[in-house]
Amino acid sequence: MDWLTSASSVGEKFALMFLAIALFVVVMGAILFLVDRPSRVPRWVVAAAFAGPALLLLAWGLVRPAVLTLWNSFFDKRGNEFIGVDNYTRVLTGGQFQSVLTNTAIWVILVPIASTLIGLVYAVLVDRTRFEKLAKALVFIPMAISMVGASIIWKFVYEFKPDQPGVKQTGLLNQVLVWVGLEPQQFLINSPWNTVFLIVVMVWIQTGFAMTVLSAAIKAIPDDIVEAARLDGLGGMRMFRYITVPSIRPALVVVLTTIAIGTLKVFDIVRTMTGGQFDTQVIANEFYTQAFRQNNQGLSAALAVILFILVIPIVVYNVRQLRKSEEIR
């Protein structure tokens, strides 16, 4: 029965997959079959059969590990000795983590603003034009691919060859620099701009999301408002400033906060493009390094907790803004 835990051939893998699905169907079917007697089963048993599996899984696989992580963050490298908040002070005041925190802050500020701005402008520009569908699809597609794939696409754009006679640049961006008469750059190595070049990748991915949500919001603006504003002589930029943006404010808040939360947790891009070297490290990737490379249990736990704590103000802002806009309505 070795293949149950280490399936190696293609046949074994698919057999295992079907076995898992069948097992799952049988278990769920049995649970539902047992409670399928309208009058004889008390209601709480039915509720437990429906909601129980989800709640148990979440309690075991998300809540319990989160509490354990919080607990571990107060212990040392090996998890033996209680050291209070030392891990946190080390992250927040230690020299090596300063650039990690700064970089994360730059990411969380730049990515949402840039994606939302470009997405909004683009959504307005292509709104109700003949090419709307195609134009949107072009910007939307990066959302479908993995961040690993996106990182490779952009790493190729940033590719650098030494500036010598006879050597041609194969990265598009450096070729553009050469064409306009500048020297090719090592975009991913030269700090601090390399962080910005990594951020470009995330903006490239997230703009499609911003555009889709904002475009739907723009289309939901009542025609009377637009019409009235137009009769008052508003057009172009002023229409955008005084009608479009205020009308879609709630959608803007949701887009900004959703992207900010996603950005906070992103580590794929940094890991694939620079591995966190050259001063590009962020919290999410530092967590991975500490947890699985350095095997520093306490520190990695503290980093995970910090990640969680940083999400909270963004969510609170989101909820408060939505409450406010509901009151106005």
């Binding site: 399936a7 939360i261 947790k265 990640l307």
Partner: protein
């Protein structure tokens, strides 16, 4: 919480609708003509050269990097090292441009890359990791929407709040459990982890859709003597197909494209494509011929799913993010 309807597909679809039911009620007629006027006015704005220029510039900037990767993946290794991919467009005219499938052959079956194996792994990981959370979340969403039990609201808020918990806080303790249970690195752990991590969003989304179904339908079935199981399967499930599709695509893309969970829980034997390709980018960063082909192999399936089922994806996106 309400879901936002899909955006209309553009002025042309609406104009078409108008001709289709010409002679409909006058109110509708007036609304559409106003829409048309607005469309014309908007078009007037776009004919400003700067606006068109900006739109086209963004579209080009967003497309060119992917085209570069795609073109490169079909060029011979030596050409890739010697010249930029844009030179093929000149080469097309004088017949110097060469294309090959060697890179794909090497990426899929070459001893160093062997992505064919990981392609299989990605499928084996993704299919159960989509089916299991959807099923469990459907049942839970039904309980939260239509079964009255004590503590229901509190539990639902708790599940809703779990959406914001970063995966990172759960990884290390879970991995430790898997190791001590002797199942670390197997597909089981990857399925289980993905299922758990997908649940909060799934329950929330499906609950939103379920709440939108008129209560009278459920009541009618109840009067007819149907229990919760029958109501769930006979009444609600057929109506929820679009919602299931929407979340299904979401989860599919998320699992297929995931790196963190695969990296943490999968063994070299069970790792998905993303992990293998990321590894390749680290160890063979200069081998652009294998790397471009490999990257494209990892993107093909999500691209097909995404493009063919875009409608549902957009609906899920709007339902999940626009709360109002």
């Amino acid at each position: 919480m309400t879901t936002t309807p899909l955006p209309p597909t553009g002025p042309f679809a609406e104009a078409f609708e108008e001709t289709a039911d010409a002679g409909g009620e006058p109110g509708r007629q007036r609304r559409l003509s106003r829409l048309e006027r607005r469309a014309i006015a908007t078009k007037g704005r776009l004919s400003s050269p700067w606006a068109s220029f900006a739109a086209i510039l963004i579209a080009i900037l967003w497309t060119i990097p992917s085209i570069g990767l795609l073109v490169t993946s079909f060029r011979p290794e030596l050409d890739i090292r010697r010249s930029g991919w844009w030179t093929v467009f000149g080469g097309l005219f004088n017949g110097e441009a060469e294309f090959t499938l060697d890179n794909y052959d090497q990426a899929l079956f070459g001893s160093g890359a062997n992505l064919a194996t990981y392609f299989v792994n990605s499928f084996v990981i993704t299919i159960p990791a989509v089916i299991i959370p959807i099923t469990i979340a459907l049942l839970a969403a039904y309980a939260f929407a239509w079964i009255d039990f004590k503590g229901r609201n509190l539990l639902f808020v708790a599940v809703f709040a779990l959406q914001i918990v970063p995966l990172q806080v759960a990884l290390v303790p879970l991995l430790r459990d898997y190791v001590s249970a002797g199942v670390a690195g197997s597909f089981w752990t990857v399925w289980l982890s993905h299922s758990i991590f997908g649940l909060p969003l799934a329950i929330f989304l499906l609950h939103n859709f379920m709440k939108d179904i008129p209560a009278s339908l459920v009541e009618a079935a109840r009067v007819d003597g149907a229990g919760h199981v029958k109501i769930f399967f006979r009444v609600l499930l057929p109506l929820l197909v679009p919602a299931i599709a929407a979340f299904g695509i979401f989860q599919f893309l998320w699992v297929w494209n995931d790196l963190l969970v695969g990296l943490t829980f999968a063994s070299p034997n069970s790792r998905p494509l993303t992990v293998a390709v990321a590894e390749m980018a680290g160890s063979r960063g200069g081998d652009w011929h294998v790397l471009t082909a490999g990257a494209f192999i990892s993107m093909v399936v999500p691209l097909i799913v995404f493009i063919s089922l875009q409608r549902y994806f957009v609906r899920g996106l709007l339902a999940g993010s626009v709360k109002g």
